[in-house]
């Protein structure tokens, strides 16, 4: 099976933003531009996440999705603050293929069954965002803000039972650090979950991907910082007035060692690795 390489774009208003441990809304540019680059570089799918949706209780991504659909022909997974089927409808009608829920599902698990019934399990992805706490992995909602007492595997199994087609698991501790995904989480998922799962958080090198694949078999790998920091268009910033935290863009600096990882390099490596299949 081919593992999907999926650029994940966190969005606030019209900007691509990227935080660390799900905190901070540093602006990196125009999401549409990034999406196009990733499409041309061979991305398998795109994720659009409205990261302030649950904060402001709205999801603002329709026009970005429509715009992307016009000439980017890739599967799109969209989420952030989705709480009811009206919102699901709007997002799917804008050209998204699948939607993901986190907070709404934790608050009201039967919503999973409802959406699966209405749109099919292939349309619904459940997003789990977990922190390590006393040797356990506990789910957070509201983009890392609110605590729950749901443990990773318990919740993942319930979500699976209720019919979700796939899950995407974010290691909050790894997010934005480039230090690799938490391998314990990956291993637990592989050993306990039957539905496909995408891992998200911390991947910034092929070596880390190899380490990940040594202990687990994800259906996809979502990558944020490692891609985005290598595609910043500072000229665009100069020509357009952006709002939000644009301090980083105004300076000409790098952040950590991000920006070297390329989609094609990953794919070539994976093809070689799995040639026998």
């Amino acid at each position: 099976m081919n593992i999907r390489i999926i650029p994940k774009l966190d969005i606030k208003n019209h900007n691509l933003v990227k935080g660390i441990n799900l905190e901070g809304l540093r602006v990196l540019g125009n999401p549409r531009q990034f999406a196009e680059k990733y499409y041309n570089e061979g991305a398998d799918e795109l994720i659009y996440h409205d990261v302030v949706a649950s904060l402001y209780q709205r999801n603002n991504l329709s026009s970005l999705i429509k715009n992307t659909s016009e000439n980017i022909f890739l599967p799109m997974l969209v989420g952030g603050g989705i709480r009811n089927t009206d919102q699901v409808e709007t997002i799917l009608n804008s050209g998204a293929d699948r939607i993901f829920l986190n907070t709404a599902a934790l608050d009201n698990p039967p919503i999973i069954d409802n959406i699966v019934k209405k749109y099919g399990s292939s349309t619904l992805v459940i997003s789990l965002e977990v922190v390590k706490s006393n040797e356990k992995y506990i789910c957070r909602k509201d983009f890392g803000r609110e605590e729950t007492n749901k443990e990773l595997i318990d919740w993942a199994k319930e979500v699976e039972l209720r019919g979700a087609g796939e899950i995407i698991v974010t290691s909050i501790d790894s997010d934005g650090t480039g230090l690799g995904f938490d391998l314990n989480i990956a291993e637990k998922l592989s050993n306990n979950i039957k539905i496909p799962f995408v891992i998200n958080g911390g991947i910034s090198s092929i070596k880390q991907i190899d380490q990940l694949l040594n202990v687990s078999n994800p259906s996809g790998i979502a990558i944020g910082s490692a891609f985005h920091y290598g595609n910043i268009d500072r000229d665009f910033v100069k020509q357009n007035s952006l709002d939000g935290n644009i301090e980083f863009l105004n300076k000409k600096q790098k952040y950590r060692n991000f920006g070297k990882l390329k989609i094609q390099a990953i794919k070539k490596h994976l093809n070689k690795k799995f040639k026998s299949n």
Partner: protein, 402 residues
């Protein structure tokens, strides 16, 4: 309608940010009396030709946009060149606790400007676990020498408790201790400079205080005997609670006679454009700083002032006394940094401001030996009638921005 603490009777909101004129301006804590006589509050200036007001902090912010940062950088370099040590001695003191701002300040001074900072820490009253981790990482990963002054626990507990009972101000001991430790140690070790992060002017002090250095009145006083701690005159504090002047010294400003060496307190925020969120990214990169693993109660963020359990309580009490909670403070600053629109800020304030700090409240009250119902009753005593109204659903603010 009656107002307590000299608060302005009419509540006015800034039309640019979300602060109101009930916001207290910084006063030297050792002059802080229960009546808050002489205290000043955030000034609002009427916008010519309109019904709206703009607060001091926003005015300062507008001025900040015209600052020539290159020029300020040169001023900084000049200052640092003058004091940079050539023989390995410390040339500046950076007070802090390993939060994002002290990481940024200390790291910049040492690794960009080649200074030799001594970091000094007045530790939190009750460390959070992740706060302590950040402190350790600051020293061990960021790489700094550090002197931590561990306070006489009995005295600190007493003073903190008294501050709450007399002023509903849990944070006074920390504010005083942290303000004094820099000058105290700098004087003792003959280090010429002290660097803090941001100037208080950004938070609503009179405009003329926006300078590079802190007014010496904050940490120097001619006559200690005229001062207050926990809202009580020092003399009475010593008599009634059987304390010595030595017990109280860490909280009191230096006497002029103790100032043998020339020590200057500077704000790095005067010389470098200070963006708290960027300090967060910086401190993650350079000292593995980690934000709180859940949202701070009373606000929407996770990376500001997270190392002391009493912090949440502090902002809850500002909400009680002034109607201004942590979300308001945080959002107001982010509006000025242009990270938030006013509309977004208002939503955040309406959602989080004044949230009851139950995560750590029990820990704090246990530490202080206060009972929760007594504490709640105490809070009610500090609700000024011109701000609060008692309804069947509990206390409600008469004036809100949402």
């Amino acid at each position: 309608m009656r107002s307590l603490f000299n608060l302005p009777k009419e509540v006015i909101f800034c039309s640019k940010c979300v602060l109101s004129n009930q916001r207290p301006a910084s006063i030297p804590e050792f002059l802080h009396k229960p009546s808050r006589e002489g205290a000043r509050y955030l000034e609002m200036k009427k916008i010519p030709g309109k019904k709206n007001y703009i607060c001091d902090a926003c005015q300062v912010s507008e001025m900040k946009e015209k600052i020539n940062w290159n020029k300020r950088e040169k001023e900084l370099e000049k200052l640092l060149n003058k004091h940079r040590s050539k023989n390995g001695n410390y040339d500046c003191v950076v007070p802090g606790s390993g939060g994002k701002d002290s990481v940024y300040a200390s790291h910049l001074l040492k690794y960009k400007y080649g200074m030799n900072p001594l970091t000094v820490t007045w530790p939190p009253i009750l460390y959070t676990s992740y706060g302590y981790e950040n402190f350790k990482n600051w020293i061990e990963i960021g790489g700094f020498d550090n002197i931590t002054f561990k306070q006489n626990g009995r005295v600190m507990k007493l003073l903190t408790k008294l501050s709450i009972q007399n002023l509903l101000h849990p944070f006074q001991t920390f504010i005083l201790g942290q303000k004094n430790i820099g000058p105290r140690l700098a004087t003792k070790y003959n280090i010429p400079l002290i660097f803090y992060g941001e100037a208080e002017a950004e938070y609503g002090n009179p405009v003329h205080e926006l300078t590079a250095t802190r007014d010496k009145s904050y940490w120097q006083q001619k006559n200690l005997k005229k001062l207050f701690l926990a809202g009580i005159p020092i003399k009475r504090l010593i008599e009634d609670y059987k304390l010595s002047i030595g017990d109280l010294k860490p909280y009191l400003p230096l006497e002029k006679s103790e100032m043998k060496n020339k020590v200057e307190v500077h704000y790095l925020g005067y010389y470098k454009k200070w963006i708290p969120q960027e300090s967060y990214y910086y401190s993650v990169e350079h000292s593995n700083f980690k934000a709180r693993p859940f949202r701070t109660q009373g606000t929407y963020s996770k990376y500001s002032s997270i190392d002391d359990k009493i912090d949440d309580l502090h902002y809850y009490t500002t909400f009680i006394k002034f109607g201004i909670g942590r979300a308001t403070y945080d959002a107001a600053q982010e509006i000025r940094n242009k990270h938030l629109t006013r509309g977004e800020a208002i939503k955040l304030v309406s959602r989080y401001d004044g949230e009851y700090p139950d995560k750590y409240l029990d820990d704090v009250l246990n530490y202080l030996g206060l009972k929760k119902d007594k504490f709640n009753k105490l809070c009610d005593k500090f609700r000024s009638p011109h701000l609060w109204q008692k309804t069947s659903n509990g206390w409600k603010l008469r004036h809100t921005i949402y």
